[in-house]
């Protein structure tokens, strides 16, 4: 049939659609960042033009930076996210391996039990969680957040990872067993490296809600010491409702660290996804 599977019009069409969507995806982010560098008059007078030397103004940033401790909030967010992510991936992969690899009594029941958490928002349990944290003295500590986020991330991690672990070839694992490897070695040395791409996917899905969560920092750790970036940004926005320079600068400050982290991290992520595909 036609050899023109990659014909020119088709390629142009694909690029046109992708470019349009990219513009839609980036436009709000760009417009917020661009305007955060302008004076108040220019923000309203010409919102769509980039800052010129005439309209360039850092007043928003000086207001915001004068008010708070963004670097400290950022550290808190980083600690919470990285620690929760580590525990979710480790515990999640271990449980997923047990469920997908071994037949034992109660296997599917256990799978169902762990999957319950995908459908139930942990938020519904907030009051009882708060009581628990008060009783154990963990209120206003990052540990409380790490515990909650680990519990929150585990169900989806187990669900997705066990789907992928079912696809790891049995022959490989049995070969390992014949060579006398322990079950732990088989898991850590044979299976984990093979499911690394799906771990990257799970990592992204786990990380985003943790980093962006407003609810639990507000309820479990609202103190100045333990504030996360999201909570800090929310408070700024509440304070400066009519100060557009400050709002735009605060939004930009909240966007930029995540954006930089993401650009660094996404190479790894995309390489992980593509190299993981069976090719």
């Amino acid at each position: 049939m036609s050899t023109a599977t990659r014909s020119l019009p088709r390629t142009i069409g694909a690029h046109a659609i992708l470019l349009t969507y990219t513009a839609i995806a980036l436009f709000p982010v760009v417009i917020v960042i661009v305007n955060s560098f302008k004076s108040r008059a220019a923000i309203f007078g010409a919102p769509l033009t980039p800052p010129t030397p005439k309209t360039f103004d850092l007043i928003g940033y000086t207001t915001v930076i004068g008010q708070g401790d963004f670097i400290h909030y950022f550290q808190n967010s980083l600690v919470v996210t990285v620690a929760s992510l580590f525990f979710v991936l480790l515990f999640g992969a271990m449980a997923a391996f047990a469920l997908s690899e071994y037949r034992f009594r109660g296997n599917s029941l256990m799978g169902l039990y762990l999957a319950l958490g995908i459908m139930i928002p942990i938020r519904l349990a907030t009051v009882a969680i708060l009581q628990l944290m008060v009783a154990s003295g963990l209120v206003n500590t990052l540990t409380a957040l790490i515990l909650v986020y680990t519990a929150q991330g585990l169900p989806l991690a187990v669900f997705i990872l066990s789907e992928f672990m079912k696809q790891v070839s049995d022959d490989l694992k049995n070969a390992g067993r014949i060579d006398g490897l322990s079950e732990y070695t088989i898991f850590f040395r044979l299976v984990l490296p093979l499911v690394r791409p799906s771990m990257a996917t799970v990592a992204v899905f786990t990380m985003i809600p943790i980093w962006n969560d407003l609810w639990f920092p507000l309820i479990l750790a609202p103190s100045e010491e333990t504030k996360t970036v999201t909570l800090g940004a929310q408070l700024f926005l509440g304070q400066f409702v009519t100060n557009w320079n400050a709002i735009l600068a605060a939004l930009s400050l909240a966007i930029m660290p995540v954006l930089i982290l993401y650009v660094i991290f996404s190479r790894q992520l995309i390489r992980g996804i593509t190299s993981g595909a069976v090719k």
Binding site: R6, P28, L124, L147, V148, I208, L259, Y262, A277
Partner: protein, 307 residues
């Protein structure tokens, strides 16, 4: 497999399962059970009294509660329908385009389109509120460029448009998730299958519909159920953009914001943990229903393809 007839107790299974099960049970399941239990009680004279299903009778029948409840449920269904009709098809389309071989800049597109998903609701809600605000004029200016300025209205402020606008903002934010999942699924289709299809003369669009789409159906099932669960838990975007009152006039109220108001109180109304728990229980049952439909009707009919 020739295993020994009597195996010793396999401790490693317990070791693999224990950390996840312990954390999950202590931090999630037990507090959740406590919350569900609360829905059967009511605070009378400073003590919790068992009242059976009385809270639910109030939720469905008492006009103080039921008007808001049915309104929130209706809005939530519409919120979900928009996601299914807009977000997931766009996600599949983008993934299909991205996965075509020899496409230039695909890493750039992938990275860029996923950007909104990594942003916090706080940022998304505020940024869109500013953009759509008639005060700032970004949206009317843009529409002026294509000659549609007359169509502009403050969408977030009008009862008939606000919910749809917020749904589309949420779609804008989360389209990256179906895109990434479908993209990964498309890449995992082996070359041999595609080559065989090409040998049979199936290329381009028909290759997508006849070969690739059936192979990625399990992933589409997964993104559908993830969308369902996510939408019926949604709260943050509405809260940051419209506040706890989900204005204008409750037109953007969904179950999450309704729960929040009932649970923690707002303005003159005092928070009622027991009614909050009753609403939480209803959300739980709705979500459970959706997941059961997925597990028993959808997933059992999809063959798992193993390569």
């Amino acid at each position: 497999m020739a295993a020994a007839p009597k195996r010793p107790f396999r401790w490693h299974i317990g070791v693999f399962l224990a950390p996840a099960v312990l954390v999950y049970t202590a931090i999630m399941i037990l507090p959740l059970a406590g919350t569900l239990q609360l829905s059967l009680f009511r605070n009378i004279n400073q003590s919790q009294v068992f009242v059976g299903l009385e809270n639910f009778r109030m939720l469905f029948g008492d006009p103080n509660w039921s008007v808001n409840f049915w309104n929130a449920l209706r809005n939530n269904v519409w919120f979900f329908i928009i996601h299914m009709l807009v977000q997931n098809p766009i996600g599949v389309l983008l993934a299909a385009l991205l996965s075509s071989p020899r496409l230039r800049f695909s890493a750039f597109y992938r990275t860029a389109i996923f950007v909104p998903t990594i942003l916090s609701f706080v940022i998304v809600g505020f940024a869109w509120k500013l953009i759509l605000s008639p005060l700032w004029g970004v949206a009317p200016n843009l529409m002026d460029l294509v000659g549609l300025k007359s169509l502009f209205t403050p969408w977030l402020g009008k009862e008939q448009y606000a919910l749809t606008t917020l749904s589309l903002i949420s779609v804008w934010q989360f389209v990256g998730i179906p895109m990434m999942l479908i993209y990964a699924a498309l890449l995992s289709i082996p070359d041999e299958v595609i080559e065989a299809a090409e040998c049979d003369g199936i290329t381009g669009m028909s290759q997508f519909w006849k070969i690739k789409l059936p192979l990625i159906l399990p992933s589409i099932g997964i993104i559908s159920i993830l969308t369902f669960v996510g939408n019926f838990n949604a709260f943050d975007l509405i809260y940051t953009a419209q506040g706890a009152l989900a204005g204008p006039n409750y037109s953007t109220d969904i179950l999450g914001t309704f729960l929040y108001r009932a649970f923690f109180g707002f303005q003159l109304q005092v928070g009622d943990p027991n009614m909050g728990a009753a609403i939480a229980t209803m959300m739980f049952l709705i979500i459970l229903g959706g997941v059961c439909v997925y597990l028993f009707l959808v997933q059992t009919r999809l063959r798992r393809y193993q390569f």
